[in-house]
Amino acid sequence: MSDIMINAQNVMKSFGDTEVLKDISFTLEKGHVLSIIGPSGSGKSTLLRILTQLETADGGSLDLVGKPLFKNVNGKAVYESAEKRRELNLKTGLVFQNFNLFPHFSVLRNITEAQRAVLKRSKDEAESKAIDLLKKMNLEDKANSYPCELSGGQKQRVSIARALAMDPEILFFDEPTSALDPELTLEVLKVIRGLAEEKMTMVVVTHEMNFAKGSSDEALFMDGGVIVEKGNPTELFDNPKEERLRRFLNTFNS
């Protein structure tokens, strides 16, 4: 039996009068990578922000790692207690498009701070974990640098290490390479591919169609706040059923 890590049903979200997410339902299995693609303004970030609790949903239900975050009660999303929300918050990590590293902390401290303050790990434990992750990111020589001294690709790898240090069970990425020069994009995608091989459960919002097609287990195309098409990435890219998806993919081929 496979564990369902994300179970979203009829998730809805509006900002004022604009319905940004209309009826989002999908599931994700443990160890799978889901790519979310779609045009600008389709609600991809908003969905990720609901999954990581940076926004609250208006309707629907959501289970993460088998536990409810909010439930559908008469069409309204009713959230669990603060304690349970926090528990789930600690099981999810988010990598931002523009990194959001802490500029006043060294690379090492960026990775140890939350381990120590939130998980109450000892200094030694947090630092050895950070060093291991930096090695994995090929950045061990940057431990004492400050974020301003790093390239965009290096910054993004530090921010991935910062998220991984918390041992999340699901890792979310919101366009992790969109702020990077093309030649730096590859080094970040390589890291994400490596995590996929280790069976890290991940959701990646991306405009990198090669990555979405080649490195994910599932893909999902959003437009106008709804999931227009979802399924196996090869199927989705080679045999798009929906006209909207076909048109969207064409904009990348031209």
Binding site: L54, R86, G93, F96, N98, H104, A114, A117, A163
Partner: protein
């Protein structure tokens, strides 16, 4: 001459006390005002805004006179001059510091809050360990400018007859028919501000390691 210098040092003592007492209270109180200025409750926001506008829109010398004489005329009660002086300076400088804090806080990237939240930091932890250090660095030059101004502004306390440096220099000057005391007082102010500027310089350089 020795006597003159001694007198001036006594005046300097008052000036320095005004200076430090003002900073002691207005630096933290400015933060409370900034919070009020950014409050979600509209009347709180309006009230703090009005307060800031008045403090910044009227001369400090006028505020000094007001805080000393208003209680006297309204309640027929008078209180210690020195207290009135400190009150006026603190309320005035808090308004300036509040605006500096506010612009510093509002210039913070919201991504810093979001990254903190996703990592599980509490609101208080985020404020003290992520936001405050960065805001501190950002506003340091503006705070430095205000502090330099404060050194010079302490001379306005002479209006209420406080025997601070400027007043002592002025009375000595007219007593001995010479501008020497005024000149020496000028040198004192200059040295104080030199120290203040150097101090801020050093702190700024200490924080130069990032961004």
């Amino acid at each position: 001459m020795g006597n003159l210098i001694l007198q001036l040092f006594k005046g300097l003592n008052f000036s320095v006390r005004i200076f430090f007492l003002t900073l002691l209270f207005s630096l933290p109180f400015g933060f409370v005002v900034a919070k009020g200025r950014m409050s979600k409750i509209a009347p709180v926001r309006w009230f703090t805004d009005l307060y800031i506008q008045i403090m910044r829109g009227t001369p400090l010398i006028l505020q000094l006179l007001f805080f000393y004489f208003a209680p006297f005329y309204i309640f027929h009660a008078s209180y210690d001059r020195f207290f009135a002086v400190i009150l006026a300076y603190v309320l005035n400088y808090s308004a300036y510091f509040a605006e500096i804090y506010r612009s510093g806080l509002q210039s913070m990237d919201k991504g810093q809050y979001e990254a903190s939240q996703v990592l599980g930091f509490t609101k208080a932890y985020t404020f003290f360990h992520v936001i405050l250090p960065q805001v501190f660095k950002k506003i340091l030059p503006s705070v430095g400018n205000e502090v330099v101004t404060l050194v010079k502004d302490t001379s306005l306390a002479s209006t209420l007859g406080i025997a601070e440096l400027f007043r002592v220099a002025q009375t000595s000057s007219s007593r001995v028919f010479s501008t020497t005391p005024i000149f020496i007082a000028g040198v004192f102010y200059f040295i104080m501000n030199y120290v203040v500027a150097k101090f801020f310089d050093i702190v700024e350089r200490k924080l130069d390691y990032y961004e």
